[in-house]
Amino acid sequence: MIRHLISAADLSRDDALLILDTAEELAQVADRPIRKLPTLRGRTVVNLFYEDSTRTRISFEAAAKRLSADVINFSAKGSSVAKGESLKDTALTLEAMGADAVVVRHSASGAPHRLTRWVRGSVVNAGDGTHEHPTQALLDAFTMRRRLGRLDGLRVTIVGDVLHSRVARSNVLLLDTLGAEVTLVAPPTLLPLAVSSWPCEVGYDLDAELPKSDVVMMLRVQAERMNAAYFPTVREYSRRYGLDGNRMALLPDHAIVMHPGPMNRGVEIAAEVADSDRSTIVEQVANGVSIRMAVLYLLLGGSESETERAEAAR
């Protein structure tokens, strides 16, 4: 198993399937009277969250605690970071505290990558800038597999601000690794210039893609993007790219609707869609804990490998 999880591209097909299968087993823990396993007892997991994200942090915290690990929460607000402590110094402090794993969310793309140079434990990327959010992609794939029974050949349409979305990047990479077929739909201004080099298709017409989709994943769109001229008005965006009741009716019967959250009800997704049976938004949250348990177990639950020991000695 790999030592750090920074990008969905770090995972081979076997690695990714192992995580999904492990999560499948660990999901049972949520239904037991005692929602705990002793596996990571005595290990320390640090949640290093520079960006506010209660949901993701709680998810990782629940996952670590269910595995009996000790959890230390380090949030940037009001901490030494707010007083100007550098990422490096924070990392060295965590290292001195003996963090076995550092789960990091940061507004700067590449921050987890930099951390791997300064900590010896495992680094898990919980979202870095507009780069990646690999555990989100894993829980999304897990949700799809649970609902639809497969991933190979599944047709997934991802809609929204792809340019600024770490969720989109991770999903495109992971779904490609797992054999699904991804189509991105967005106004051209919200697609990266070099998107043609990504392992997916691209379309500008949402209505054309919906009847062919097994999964529709809506990405959050910030209204402020309007001020940087990415789209003229929220109204126009919603009209052309929002998933409302009419559009939902274009979907095949079995198709599901996903959203990584938090949602802008009425912008990219209508309330009736978010609350419908097709929507997996609520179960995505529970699945998040199972996936994160699987990731923490696979990264920390065994011995350090030969390579890791050699690296640590250097």
Partner: protein, 213 residues
């Protein structure tokens, strides 16, 4: 009790073995229990369970993956033949409760499947292929503890090879097999390996990842 004989179709086991990529003949080593002896042992164990649990009315069998699971199913089928009622059977993976996790890279989990009746107030019979150090059973007891509160826990194993490292003893034993620690005991079951056999070989060969200890 033909239900305890490995699969009616002689080719089914071979196909399974081929699918597993294993040859059907035992690797270097001596066969100390053949398929007939295994069948007879399991038959006897099933009767013993019925006796000691007063008809196995509230017994639930939990096999420890990997090979404890098909053995548990065979025992359940055996109980059902005599009593006419199916006995609840499932599996209990103990990977997350092992005491030796840090010695090897993180392991793939086996499947846990607890029958809907649950374990509370029941007699749980843990089923495994080989009893060795007792650590697997210790882990299974911890796992069971987090699932509920059985009335009693008993242990059924196909082979007891000695060398206990913990105060654990089996309730039902298919065969006592004294071994030296340098020897390797390998249990083959037709559902997985295409044939039934217990093979005693010289170690250290390729390690047996699912070998009970």
């Amino acid at each position: 009790m033909h239900a305890l004989r490995a699969g009616a179709d002689p080719h089914a086991g071979q196909a399974a073995a081929a699918a597993q990529g294993r040859s059907a003949s035992p690797p270097g080593g001596k066969v100390v229990l053949g398929s007939e002896e295994i069948r007879r042992a399991l038959t006897r164990v099933a009767h013993e369970i019925l006796e000691r649990t007063d008809g196995a009315g509230d017994v639930i069998l939990l096999g420890i993956p990997t090979r404890g699971v098909p053995l548990a199913r065979r025992l359940a089928a055996g109980l059902a033949e005599v009593e006419g009622r199916p006995a609840p059977v499932g599996s209990l993976d103990i990977t997350m409760y092992r005491d030796d996790l840090r010695l090897r890279p993180a392991r793939k989990l086996g499947h846990t499947d607890v029958p809907p009746s649950g374990v509370d107030g029941r007699i749980v019979v843990l089923v495994d292929d080989v009893l060795y150090s007792g650590r697997t059973v210790r882990a299974a007891l911890d796992a069971l503890n987090d699932l509920g509160r059985p009335r009693a826990v008993q242990l059924a194993v196909l082979v007891d090879r000695g060398h206990r490292e913990l105060p654990i003893r089996p309730d039902y034993v298919g065969k006592n097999l004294p071994t030296s620690q340098r020897e390797v005991v390998q249990v083959l079951v037709s559902e997985i390996d295409g044939e039934d056999a217990v093979v005693l070989g010289k170690g250290p060969g390729p390690s047996e990842p699912e070998a009970s200890e």
